[in-house]
Amino acid sequence: MKALFKRLQQCFPLSEITEQLNPQKGSQKNSQNSDLAFITVASDQLRLVLTHLRDVEGFTHLVLLTAVDWLEEDQFQLTYLICNRSKKWDIGLRVFISREAATMESTHDLWAGIATYQRELFEMFGIDFPGSPRIDEEFILEGWKDLPPYRRDFDTLEYSQRTYKDRPGRETKDPAEHMKQQLYKDGG
């Protein structure tokens, strides 16, 4: 796989490449992830890299498209995970986009199945993919007017307590505090 990285770096400007943990570092000997790597690309390079990997290098299977919300760094990370089935390699392409007016170009002509992932990201994170089929229709939630729920600043516990009434008589304890009181009753 290192030869692949060299070839890619000749064609495109890539940022950091994280290869998966080498097997000596404590993961199980049956780990299947010796051929998984994550590469950071710029958002305007993404389409070129994806097309290159799909047509030239043989990464034909799109596994998933998801987003991670890095609220502290004020950006979304989109991860496109693609797989070369014949050589059993996986590459995760990381793209960082800003959290305000989050938008990314749609790649539904490369893989038809990616339209579903893009619909979910639009509804759950608020990331727009202009031109993706059926993206304005409601996908999972119905009549939702609040913040997109998977963002880190949406507080699900507060929303749930506000909207759905609890049955009285429920007690919860923080497990760490509870165990501390049980084991160290005298405070020692």
């Binding site: 404590g26 998933l64 059993k88 038809a112 999972i140 998977y150």
Partner: protein
């Protein structure tokens, strides 16, 4: 004189390949095959536009089972996540537990004992047998043959008894956790398991005669729901749906995980991918899983020892920043967990990639066009979709 089909009254194709449907003319009817329907597995609805008896347009609606799992998992510590993780996929819950546990072990750098790997494989294969049994019952039931569902649900119950003996619960086991498995096999488990497997095989011989050699089943299932092999990568189809088109893709063989490299198994493929071939492939895969369980039970005797490794203090367990993707081959296709951690005691993001996500929405809407209404339910069942993992 051969019968010429007269399609002049049906909608014609436009330039981009879609059908020219004018909803204001009185020719079309919108049917909702909604969440409450005996022909839909799970809770999903299909909005069909039919012209006479033939479906011309379909839109799937999901979201009836959305619980916001990925958000809930961010609010729980690593050890608190594992009891809820099995409820993501209701009929085959063990895969969630395995993928989550393997991802956390990889990110935290944990080694687990060898025997734990064997027991994990045993549980996964037992879950696969259960899932295929339920599929056979559902597929025959979609064509009106209810007796096969009765037989397969009964032997599935016998397997659930084995699960109860091993893990303590019938459906949600919560047995595979980061660090190993919860307990070892009880005494006499192997003997009772062999009896159950014999019972399953004898029922399957009956099912083969009644279902796969049945003239009615063949007439209704052959030639319908064909997936072109060019669509497989375009839509991300995995599992038996892909293998029915002749492409040998099985994660257990290509990227072996757990101890699959020490077992003998082969990818079962079919030639023409229609409903009948998919049913036959799953049937043969089920027989192979029964054989795999026998292999595991006999080879496991050489690996004795502990089943759980020592974990750090789980109430204050922090995992360094990283991300990983663990995949496995469940009975429907490729199941995967994408886990991102950020150095705190809570996971940053866990994304569940279920196989039904790609099958049930984009692919199904494409397959159902120009088919009869009575085949809609059968086609959805033949893609073996479980809606809970689509919207989690």
């Amino acid at each position: 004189m051969t019968y010429q089909l007269d399609r002049s009254q049906y909608p014609q194709k436009k330039a981009d390949g879609t059908l020219d449907i004018d909803l204001t003319s009185g020719k079309y009817l919108k049917l909702w095959q909604g969440p409450q329907h005996p022909g839909i597995t799970g809770n999903m609805s299909i909005e069909l536009t039919v012209c006479g008896d033939e479906v011309v347009d379909a839109k799937t609606h999901v979201g009836y089972l959305h619980r916001g799992f990925e958000k809930l998992m961010e609010r729980r510590t690593f050890m608190q996540v594992f009891p809820i993780v099995c409820r993501v996929c209701v009929p085959e819950p063990d895969f969630n537990e395995y993928c989550y546990a393997a991802a956390i072990e990889e990110l935290a750098g944990l080694e687990i004992p060898e025997r734990a790997n064997w027991i994990r494989t045993l549980i996964l294969e037992m879950g696969r047998v259960n899932s295929y049994l339920m599929y056979l019952g559902g597929q025959a039931g979609a064509f009106g043959q209810g007796v096969i569902g009765q037989w397969t649900t009964y032997v599935r119950d016998l397997m659930l008894d084995r699960f109860e003996e091993l893990t303590g619960a019938r459906i949600y086991h919560m047995f595979i956790l980061p660090g190993g498995v919860r307990a070892d096999l009880p005494d006499g488990f192997e003997k009772r398991m062999q009896e159950t497997l014999l019972e399953i095989e004898s029922t399957l011989a009956d099912v083969k005669k009644v279902m796969l050699h049945n003239a009615v089943f063949k007439k209704r299932a052959i030639g319908i729901g064909v997936i072109d092999s060019k669509l497989i990568d375009h839509y991300g189809i995995t599992g038996p749906n892909a293998r029915a088109a002749g492409i040998a893709r099985d994660v257990r063989i290509e990227q072996p995980y757990l101890i699959y490299s020490e077992l003998e198994l082969e990818a079962i493929i079919g030639q023409n991918s229609d409903i009948y071939t998919r049913a036959e492939i799953r049937y043969r895969d089920l027989l192979q899983s029964v054989d795999l369980i026998r292999q595991i039970l006999s080879k496991m005797k050489n690996h004795q020892g502990k089943v759980m490794s020592k974990l750090p203090n789980v109430l204050h367990w922090k995992i360094p920043r990283g991300e990983t993707y663990i995949r496995g081959e469940c009975s429907r296709g490729e199941y995967g967990y994408y886990v991102v951690t950020d150095g705190s005691a809570y996971p940053r993001r866990i994304n569940v990639r279920g196989p039904s996500y790609t099958h049930a929405i984009a692919l199904f809407e494409r397959l159902i066009i120009n088919n009869n209404i009575s085949d809609v339910a059968a086609m959805l069942v033949s893609l073996h979709t479980y809606p809970p993992e689509i919207e989690r």
